[in-house]
């Protein structure tokens, strides 16, 4: 399809009936081969797609439940009293174990280690005694589903000591 534009000039060539038929034949054969190849490749891809679908069919549900995990973590750290929050911690552990069976793993974050955008997302930069450019604190946990990051860990990044 052409866009009306001075840059698009079409070339007109003369060709014989035979040449035209040969050209069309080659086009059609090429198209047929391409369609056949696409189909074969699609079939190969299909089995992989089914496997991926099975592995990730719970992704949307698990992603929603991560918000609930977040709330549990915030609740436990807010109370700052291990005795009071023991029950909550146990329930959280239960939920995490259940989700682990479906392939969900927590991303490990170590304060003081350089920030890694592959598994982390920087929320803000803060003055800290940790070296500049390293993780100061994990704000919310990150998770991987079947080794693929579905929610990066949210972290505060150190900008070093105040000058």
């Amino acid at each position: 399809m052409e866009e009306k534009d001075k840059n698009n000039a079409s070339d007109i060539t003369e060709e014989s009936e035979l040449q035209k038929l040969e050209r069309e034949r080659d086009e059609y054969l090429e198209g047929w081969k391409r369609a056949k190849a696409d189909f074969i490749n699609y079939k190969h891809d299909e089995s992989r797609r089914v496997e991926e679908m099975i592995a990730f069919s719970n992704k949307a549900l698990i992603y929603e439940l991560i918000t609930v995990l977040d709330s549990f973590h915030i609740a436990i750290t807010s109370h700052n009293n291990a005795k009071e929050t023991k029950g909550l911690s146990i329930i959280l552990g239960q939920l995490e174990e259940s989700l682990k069976r479906f392939g969900l793993e927590k991303i490990t974050v170590t304060p003081g280690v350089p920030f890694d955008p592959n598994t982390q997302e920087a929320i803000q930069e803060v003055v800290s005694d940790k070296p500049a450019g390293t993780v100061d604190e994990e704000v919310s946990r990150g998770y991987a589903l079947h080794n693929k990051v579905i929610r990066p860990a949210r972290v505060q990044v150190s900008k070093g000591q105040a000058s």
Binding site: M1, E2, E3, K4, E27, E30, G31, R34, A35, D38, F39, N41, Y42, S71, I74, A75, S78, H79, P114, F115, P117, N118, Q120, E121, A122, I123, Q124, E125, A132, G133, V139, K148, V149, P152, R154, V157, K159
Partner: protein, 624 residues
């Protein structure tokens, strides 16, 4: 010849697609996402990051994180748009020696083309990894209002990335292509593109396979992000009113609120109400504080009403204002409206557009991907993939063969793409049946009598055998012209018969629709009839099998078992031709249970050790 990649190089996000099997397919990037942020950065450790990884560190590295470079590409530094954007860009830009824009990232300067090339390079690499082949060529889209300099700069970006850029296509044209509107004749199309950061309007005219951009309009600083801001402002002000706490001062709380607001906005496109639930959002002297609020669709619409109205005002201007400001057309002259951009998922926007033009806008394709899809279609046209001669039809109604009990057994389901061929093997219903009737029907009903008969023919010469033994292969073959060939062949004798049916796809649209509606209307009735027939067929087969087993079991089975089986056979025979379905099913089940005893008895008989009469037994008295 490798595939040509269709690329939507967006201001905020980019997407890519290819033609596969004649259909456009959006490709996922290495992170598994269908869109890639158009962001490039040099990290604090000197590493170049592109896409999502660059976005993740943007907050802590704003000076070296380059975004929205599309706003700068192909423009002079002195361009008023550039000077305006310079005010809010977090990175440094300066004038290059040729008067263009130079972007400072890390310890050197880059042209906007070089930055865009980095995004394109990532797309190229990810596409190659996905497809397992080298991609050498691309079709890249640009806004319709881009001038020659901006288009050339975009093409240069493609070439720096290693592509041969086959075509630079206007984004609204690509959207029209995605919906197949390029085939229209003398039509006026409005493309309403409401993305995350920009709002673009284009008025197109399609004729004789060419597309002309008659006018453009919009607002380069209006988008879905503005809708999110309105929601956040509302939530913050409501919370302050109720709790006396200003969440906008707490960056972590604001982050959670921002995500929740965006999620609520998406949800409200399909529901009337969304709950925003953020426990432990903050704390004060009294302890932890929580955020719990309901947001209704009508409230959301009231928050953004003026933004939607502004977009409608701008599109009206673009259509009706005299050239060069607009296309100088009446609103009623617009034939088609296409929606592009994620924000167009909002029902209020769809309604407003529909109300303005008096017609339903095209919105079936994912609005975030429609431009990339259109770019792939253009790529396909250039590659010769998409030709009218390759447009394939579908068979509108199911084609079936009549089987035992007058059931219509589907051979080719409705909406199957043609040409196609289906084969199934059938057998005989009675002992010594030497011919079969092939009754070909068309329609969605379960019983053949309710469908249209297309053909009937007889295949004879089948060698006499027990029922269920012969193998008759039936082939239904429809060619690209919709001509159905049905053939039947007996595998033993090799005898075959066939028939050609010309009119299998010649029903009118209305007739097809009527038949489909009838099938839906009678669906449950037909299902019951089919269940009945299947129960009767099963009963018949079981009676046949039971009687055969009794004949062949001979001495191996006790008289008592035989009698019990015969009793059940008689009971089933008495009900199988009646109308009492539960009775047929129950009698079938009973006979099936009893029949198992014959099998058990025969297996037990087989396992008993053979006793020779004269063989001495240990400990017995033997006589010589």
């Amino acid at each position: 010849m490798s595939k040509i990649l269709g690329i939507d190089l967006g201001t905020t996000n980019s997407a890519m697609a290819v033609m596969e099997g004649g259909e456009p397919k959006v490709l996922e990037n290495a992170e598994g996402n269908r869109t890639t942020p158009s962001i490039v950065a040099i990290s604090k450790s000197g590493e170049r990051l592109v896409g999502l990884l660059a976005k993740r560190q943007s907050v802590v590295n704003p000076k070296n994180t380059i975004f929205s470079v599309k706003r700068l590409i192909g423009r002079k530094f002195s361009d008023p748009y550039v000077l305006e954007d310079k005010q809010w860009l977090s990175y440094e830009i300066k004038e290059s020696e040729h008067g263009g824009v130079s972007i400072v990232m890390g310890d050197r300067s880059y042209t906007p083309e070089e930055i865009s090339a980095m995004v394109l390079q990532k797309l190229k690499a990810d596409a190659e990894a996905k497809l397992g082949e080298t991609i050498e060529e691309a079709v890249i889209t640009v806004p319709a209002y881009f001038d020659d300099s901006q288009r050339q700069a975009t093409k240069n970006a493609g070439e720096i990335a290693g592509f041969k850029v086959r075509r630079i296509v206007n984004e609204p044209t690509a959207a029209a292509l995605a919906y197949g509107l390029n085939k229209k004749k003398d039509e006026k199309i409005v493309v309403y593109d409401f993305g995350g950061g920009t709002y673009d309007i284009s008025i197109l005219e399609v004729s004789d396979g060419t597309v002309e951009v008659k006018a453009t309009g919009g607002d380069t600083h209006l988008g879905g992000d503005d809708f999110d801001k309105r929601i956040i402002e509302y939530l913050v002000s409501e919370y302050k009113k109720n709790e006396g706490i200003d969440l906008s001062k707490d960056s972590l709380a604001l982050q959670r609120l921002k995500e929740a607001a965006e999620r609520a906005k998406h949800e409200l496109s399909t529901t009337q109400e969304s709950e925003i639930n953020l426990p432990y959002i903050t704390s004060d002297a009294s302890g932890p504080k929580h955020f719990l609020m309901k947001l209704t669709r009508s409230k959301l619409e009231s928050l953004v009403e003026d933004l939607i109205e502004r977009s409608i005002k701008l599109v009206k201007e673009a259509v009706t204002a005299q050239s060069p400001k607009g296309a100088g057309l009446e609103l009623s002259a617009i034939n088609e409206v296409v929606l592009v951009g994620g924000q167009t998922r909002m029902p209020a926007i769809q309604e407003a557009v529909k109300k303005l033009f008096g017609k339903e806008p095209h919105k079936g394709i994912n609005p975030d991907e429609v431009v990339a899809v259109g770019a792939a279609v253009q790529a396909g046209i250039l590659q010769g993939d998409v030709k009218d001669i390759l447009l394939l039809d579908v068979t509108p109604l199911t084609l079936s063969i009549e089987t035992l009990g007058s059931v219509a057994t589907p051979m080719i389901e409705k909406n199957t793409t043609i040409p196609t061929s289906r084969t199934q093997v059938f057998s005989t219903a009675a002992d010594n049946q030497t011919s079969v009737e092939i009754h070909v029907g068309q329609g969605e009903r379960s019983m053949m009598v309710d469908n249209k008969t297309l053909a009937r023919f007889i295949l004879d010469g089948i060698p006499p055998s027990a029922r269920g033994v012969p193998q008759v292969e039936v082939i239904f073959d429809i060619d690209a012209n919709g001509i159905l060939n049905v053939s039947a062949k007996d595998k033993a004798s090799g005898k075959s018969q066939s028939v050609k049916i010309e009119a299998s796809t010649s029903l009118s649209k209305e007739e097809i629709e009527k038949l489909k509606q009838e099938a839906a209307k009678f669906a449950s009735e037909d299902a019951k009839k089919k269940e009945f027939v299947e129960a009767r067929n099963q009963a018949e087969s079981l009676v046949y099998l039971a009687e055969k087993s009794l004949r062949e079991s001979g001495e191996k089975v006790e008289a008592g078992v035989k009698e019990s089986v015969q009793k059940n056979i008689d009971a089933l025979k008495a009900v199988k031709d009646g109308d009492d379905l539960p009775a047929i099913q129950s009698a079938t089940q009973e006979l099936s249970k009893e029949l198992q005893k014959i099998g058990e008895a025969m297996y037990n008989k087989k396992e008993e050790p053979k006793k020779e009469p004269n063989e001495p037994q240990p400990g017995s008295n033997q006589s010589v």
